[in-house]
């Protein structure tokens, strides 16, 4: 959700009326973005707290649940997201240097990586929901002991990775919005705040996945029969 993308044009093309200097406006926008990212940390933090508590209460169910995770898809997804972070960072750098063409190409590569991530996530979800009936709720099937506790594991798996995927979709939307305006030459060395904030948002979503990956995929990978 990018914040005040300036549109009003006044004596300095992109300076909003209530800011004194361009530098003050940029720093304000970045600080606003960081405060927004803090609210996102606390939003995901609530679920991480639930994860930590249930892992403490139902450790054996957590082991069984995570054995059902697809280790390889998880690792590939992590690599995909890290690459998308690289291209996003390079895109922000290109905007600052004013290279319009490379900015647009890098942004498009980032979008492709994002869609690749969502695709892999879709495959995983299809595997869990359709073939193995592991979507929590009445249709949940799980052979083996303490079924209801494993269902809690899957509730958290789908809740946390689901919200992460939702933020990824918003991210892809944002980056394509920025790519379109970059292609029209809206941003450059004189004005790159929206690109930078979108970059911050993208990197944040990547960091959330950096923590989701070990917590869900690496718990008891070694117990795989």
């Amino acid at each position: 959700m990018s914040d005040s993308t300036p549109a009003v044009v006044e004596h300095n093309p992109d300076l909003r009326h209530h800011f004194a200097t361009m530098e003050q406006q940029t720093e304000t926008a970045v600080m606003g973005m960081w405060v927004f990212l803090i609210t996102e940390i606390m939003f995901f933090g609530g679920m991480f707290a639930g994860y930590v508590i249930y892992r403490h209460l139902y450790y054996s169910a957590w082991l069984e649940g995570s054995q059902r995770m697809d280790f390889w898809w998880g690792t590939i997804n992590t690599v995909v997201l890290l690459c998308s972070s690289l291209t996003m960072a390079l895109a922000v750098r290109a905007t600052q240097l004013g290279h319009r063409k490379s900015t647009v190409t890098l942004l498009i590569i980032t979008i492709l990586f994002g869609l690749a991530f969502l695709g892999i996530k879709g495959i995983e979800y299809w595997g869990h929901i359709v073939t193995e009936h592991q979507l929590p709720g009445p249709g949940f099937r799980f052979a083996g002991p303490n079924t209801s506790q494993v269902e809690i594991f899957f509730s958290f798996y789908f809740a946390m990775t689901g919200f992460h995927a939702l933020h990824m979709i918003i991210g892809v939307g944002l980056v394509s919005f920025i790519a379109y305006y970059a292609w029209k030459g809206r941003y450059g060395a004189h004005y790159y705040t929206p690109v930078e904030n979108t970059g911050l948002y993208w990197h944040f979503v990547d960091i959330v996945w950096i923590y989701l990956y070990p917590l869900f995929y690496l718990i008891s990978h070694i117990h795989r029969k």
């Binding site: 083996g144 002991p145 303490n146 209801s148 117990h223």
Partner: protein
Amino acid sequence: MLSNTFPLWPTRASTISGQVDALFIFLLMLCGLMCMAIFVAIVVFAIRYRKRPGHQATQIEGSNAVEFTWTFIPAGIFLFIFVWGAYIYFLERTPPRDSMDVYTVAKQWMWKFQHTEGQREINELHIPIGRDVRMIMTSQDVIHSFYVPAFRIKQDVLPGRYTIAWFRASKAGTYHLFCAEYCGTNHSGMIGDVVVMEPAQFQSWLNGGGPMGSLTQTGEGLFQSLGCSTCHRLDTQGRGPNLIGVFGKPVLLEDGRTITADENYVRESILSPAAKVVSGFKPIMPTFQGIVSEEQLNALVAYIKSLTARPSGAAQNPTFQSPAASKADTTRQR
């Protein structure tokens, strides 16, 4: 329209109520004094320093000394109150060993009590005076709360686990029992009476209750009929741990943690057995979720608790350690 009795102080009917009232009266006086001091100061300043011709306000920046005094003095008083309150809470949360157990099942909008001697009651609880009573409570649906104002005790009753409340009645009579946690439509109707009787009276009430057998006997019957005894043998070592002398003692688990075997552990091992498997055993016990009702669960827990008291003539000193005490690798499955 107006009821005749108009009490201003709840009756004191349990040993702890005296201490709670003492702390309450102390706080009442302390805070009453402080509020009066603030009110009087405001009124005096408002009048004495009111705006009138020839009167000038003198600017005072503030003084660190005064600030520190009214930071550390209140902090000190608060710590004292905290310690006193925590002491009472500690007493309320540590039931004595040899207390009389009453198993409680809270259901949407009624209380069901069951004494170990077998008596069942609904919305009525008869207890003897001067005896420590331990309420072992669970709920069948939502969160309720066992609240007897005269005893000054309250404890939420959670579904899915046991919560414990204890008291010792000190005054005979009939007292209110309320549900204090909002639990749906008839939350205000989920009330009852606690009848405190002289020990002799209580004994005759107990005997007059009809030959339905004590809770532990029903528990033993269930232990046989549900097939628990096939694995948990009481004389030798079966496929399940030998349960004699287990209750209240620490138990070493498969994943290395050690927990004390309280009511909640017994309940969790019956309803989801593979959650905390005893070390040296395999998670082969089937779950009894949905097979065993709350009342039957109470009976089984009472029976397992009674196993410690019975002098185990035949078996040697019952240690909970499985024979394969040493970590033989064969039985541990990685």
